[in-house]
């Protein structure tokens, strides 16, 4: 979590200019101005398949609504492009529905629903130009909103796997599910300040809370798993984690962000990674810190990529330098990949930790200049 930042930014708001106030604490819904309107696409999944309706849309934001009236066999839908999952909705059992948003360039995509008689359906985006090449900052902040909404959707699903294991008292399954669930929270940490009290409720460490008996969230259960080796008393904590994430999901659906908030949030987060998280303090019991770092970098990079067109127009050198330094950091982390995730952070030597910190520092310094260029 980001306790000092969230407290400091909002407490100081009274003495800041109105512009900064909006940047630091924006959370009220605002209609998005400019840019193409969003298109709504419904995907009804069944044993037969998952045809999108309409199957052809114009360039721009697309809101997908996934429903499952009756199929036990098919419970998920993914939108694929260029061999990658661009957005997905999992665990849509009969009677449930779900939604996600994407901003899509013109091209051919597919909707995939494993298990169906016909599991791949065509989806086309028509038009000229590129959705991503829209240099308006409105488009950038809207796209970041969409990204956060998608990540929180995935967080809810992945956390449920984790909390189900906790409630079932299955230590091994819970340990397996812990890091993959956290990834979807750490990736949106650049804007965690806007989550208010949900951030400490979900992500506080033991030294962040005044009363340890009131400590909740991922790290409380992390301690139970890896330090106490017992899940006794953890079911209510798991229930509260699910509830807090559900509240977060409702909140981010209406949250809006300022360009400077994205830039400063990303910069502050990387600074935190390089100065304190690098010591291994975040996942001190599980040593899954590298998963978090990678997600933090992904989320910061997402913010940068969205601001990049606007930045390139005002300061192409800075944009290029940031590209190169993001690449350095990503390459530095890639050395520690293992299976679907990352090595145990306890096995990373002090020298290698310093090297990670150096590369993140080198990135965070120019990133601190971005907010001044995009407001």
């Amino acid at each position: 979590m980001t306790p000092t930042r969230s407290r400091a930014a909002c407490a100081a708001a009274a003495v800041l200019s109105a512009g900064l106030l909006a940047a630091a604490c924006a959370s009220s819904p605002q209609p998005s101005a400019g840019g193409p309107p969003a298109t709504n696409v419904s995907i009804e999944i069944s044993d037969a398949g998952c045809g999108p309706n309409p199957a052809t849309v114009p360039t721009g934001p697309v809101n997908f609504a996934v429903t499952n009236p009756a199929s036990d066999k098919v419970t998920e839908a993914e939108v694929l492009g260029g061999g990658k999952i661009l957005g997905e909705k999992e665990n849509i059992t009969p009677g449930l529905d779900g939604a996600f948003s994407l901003r899509l360039d013109p091209g051919t995509y597919s909707v995939y629903c494993p298990g169906a008689a016909k599991d791949t359906w065509a989806f086309t985006v028509q038009g000229n130009g590129s959705a991503a090449a829209d240099t308006s900052l409105t488009a950038a902040t809207q796209a970041y909103h969409d990204y956060v909404v998608t990540e929180v959707g995935q967080l809810q699903t992945a956390a449920k796997t984790f909390t189900d294991a906790v409630r079932a008292g299955d230590i091994s399954a819970a340990e397996q599910a812990y890091a993959p669930a956290r990834v979807h929270y750490e990736s949106i940490e650049p804007v965690a300040e806007s989550f208010g009290d949900l951030d400490p409720a979900i992500d506080a460490r033991i030294d962040d809370v005044t009363d340890p008996t009131q400590w909740t969230g991922f790290h409380r259960i992390e301690k139970a798993l890896w330090a106490d080796h017992s899940l006794a008393g953890m079911a209510p904590v798991a229930d509260k984690l699910d509830a807090d994430i559900a509240t977060l999901k409702a909140k981010v659906a209406t949250n809006t962000y300022q360009p400077a908030e994205l830039a400063n949030g990303a910069s502050d987060l990387l600074t935190e990674v390089s100065t304190s998280k690098v010591t291994g303090e975040e996942d001190r019991y599980s040593h899954t810190d590298l998963w978090d770092f990678a997600a933090n970098i992904d989320g910061a990079r997402k913010a940068f990529e969205l601001l990049q067109p606007a930045l390139a127009a005002t300061d192409p050198d800075l944009a290029q330098q940031l590209e190169a330094r993001f690449t350095d950091v990503v390459n530095g982390l890639a050395k520690y990949r293992s299976g679907n995730g990352y090595e145990d952070y306890g096995a990373v030597t002090d020298t290698d930790r310093r090297s990670l910190a150096d590369s993140v520092n080198a990135l965070a310094e120019p990133l601190s200049q971005v907010a001044g260029k995009v407001v």
């Binding site: 900064l20 150096d358 590369s359 520092n361 080198a362 990135l363 310094e365 120019p366 200049q369 907010a371």
Partner: protein, 415 residues
């Protein structure tokens, strides 16, 4: 835009760019203090070597993390510009203040005078040749033959975490915060190209480069053992001695280093608690000087020439293993070095509960072998060795000074 720290202090910030370096001397409110307060940045030699020794030191070495020669050049240009401004008491140049970005200058020197700040830069052997023998930046062919890492020397137990570095920055000032501000801001500017390797703060000068005639009040400053050591240091205005012992001549080898020098930095831990229990007579025998006056044991006043031939009832008046005898030019074929060291402390040694304190030895010389020769002798025989140990080390080639606003540190090396 450039802001003079003094002008900020006077509350007239933003009244106009103080672009010319003349501002302080010519029309700043504090003009009266300016002539002695600002050390010229440009010149044939870098400032901070022959310059009259300032009270405080901030020293930092850096490792280059970038693999790009262009990045190193850009860094040196940016550093030169920033150091020149700070030397004048101005803020680090940059964009005007903007609520949305961090300020270009970190700010802790706002309101402080220039305080005779000098910033001196040197290049380590590792900048020329990597540990694997690689020619990192196309400089290997320009490495002077004399410029090889110091050999293992007697009297040392070096901590790699406090030794070496691709680039060293020595900032000296009469104000500790002005000195710290200088290295901190260079470290910040360099982020992404260099990372800091180790640093040392010196809280009190132990050397004078002003000699006996118009020297510092009280003569040579004392080290933490309470002694005046280095009394016969090279005087900063003695051009003949500087040319012979300190400045590298064009003909010495690599032309880019002509007018430059070599810097040897040694973190010399003093075991002050045992020293404080040693009787006065022995302390004086160890140095070969009287503690109170600083005079050699054969003289009456600090600057009296030592008489190494004088004998008493028990043998030589200045003992055979006395520090000044072993270090003296008379006993080393005329070898001299320019010393510029500072006392340091880094708190308490956690293992022993003793003070982690000593001398941060800085010496400039024409050839690193001058130091090697002296330390081979001192490290083997010096009576002082019972109370000291060399625990950190660095050797750096210090390029010549910059000629003017278009010049930058190391231009001749990289051109």
């Amino acid at each position: 835009m450039e802001l003079s720290r003094r002008r900020l202090l006077q509350g007239i910030a933003g009244a106009g760019a103080a672009g010319a370096g003349l501002a302080l001397a010519g029309c700043a409110p504090s003009a009266a203090a300016a002539p002695t307060d600002v050390v010229d940045f440009h010149g044939p030699h870098q400032a901070g070597i022959a310059t009259a020794v300032q009270d405080r030191l901030a020293f930092m070495t850096f490792d280059v993390t970038s693999t790009s020669r262009a990045d190193v050049v850009e860094l040196l240009k940016s550093w030169t510009t920033a150091a020149e401004a700070m030397t004048r008491g101005a803020a680090v140049p940059g964009a005007p203040p903007d609520d949305q970005v961090p300020p270009a200058d970190t700010g802790e020197a706002v309101g402080l005078p220039a305080a005779r700040l000098t910033v001196t830069v040197g290049f380590g052997p590792s900048l020329f040749t990597g540990p694997d023998g690689s020619d990192r930046f196309g400089l290997a062919a320009r490495r002077p033959a004399a410029f090889v890492p110091l050999p293992a020397l007697p009297g040392e137990l070096l901590d790699p975490a406090r030794s070496g570095g691709d680039i060293a920055v020595q900032a000296c000032s009469d104000d500790p915060q002005v000195a710290f501000h200088a290295v901190r801001n260079l470290a910040r500017i360099g982020r992404g190209t260099v990372v800091a390797r180790w640093a040392e703060l010196g809280f009190g000068k132990t050397s004078s480069t002003q000699g006996s005639a118009d020297g510092d009040p009280g003569g040579t400053p004392r080290n933490l053992m309470g002694f005046k050591d280095g009394t016969r240091n090279i005087v900063g205005t003695d051009d003949a001695a500087l040319d012979q012992h300190v400045w590298v001549a064009d003909a010495d080898g690599q032309g880019w280093l002509g007018g430059g020098s070599y810097l040897v930095a040694r973190r010399i831990r003093m075991f002050v608690e045992p020293w404080d229990r040693d009787r006065l007579g022995d302390q004086e025998a160890v140095f070969g000087r009287f503690k109170d006056s600083g005079a050699p044991l054969t003289g009456k006043a600090e600057f009296d020439a030592p008489d190494y031939a004088a004998t008493g009832a028990d043998g030589p008046v200045i003992p055979a293993n006395a520090h000044i005898r072993l270090a003296s030019p008379e006993n080393n074929g005329g070898l001299r070095i320019l010393r510029r060291g500072y006392s340091y402390t880094d708190g308490i040694d956690a293992t022993t509960g003793t003070l982690d304190a000593g001398l941060f030895f800085l010496a400039y010389m024409r050839d690193p072998n001058q130091f090697v020769t002296l330390q081979r002798k001192l490290g083997t025989s010096d009576a002082l060795n019972e109370y000291i140990r060399h625990v950190g080390s660095g050797l750096f080639a210090v390029p010549p000074g910059t000629s003017g606003p278009d010049d930058w540190w190391g231009r001749a090396l990289f051109s």
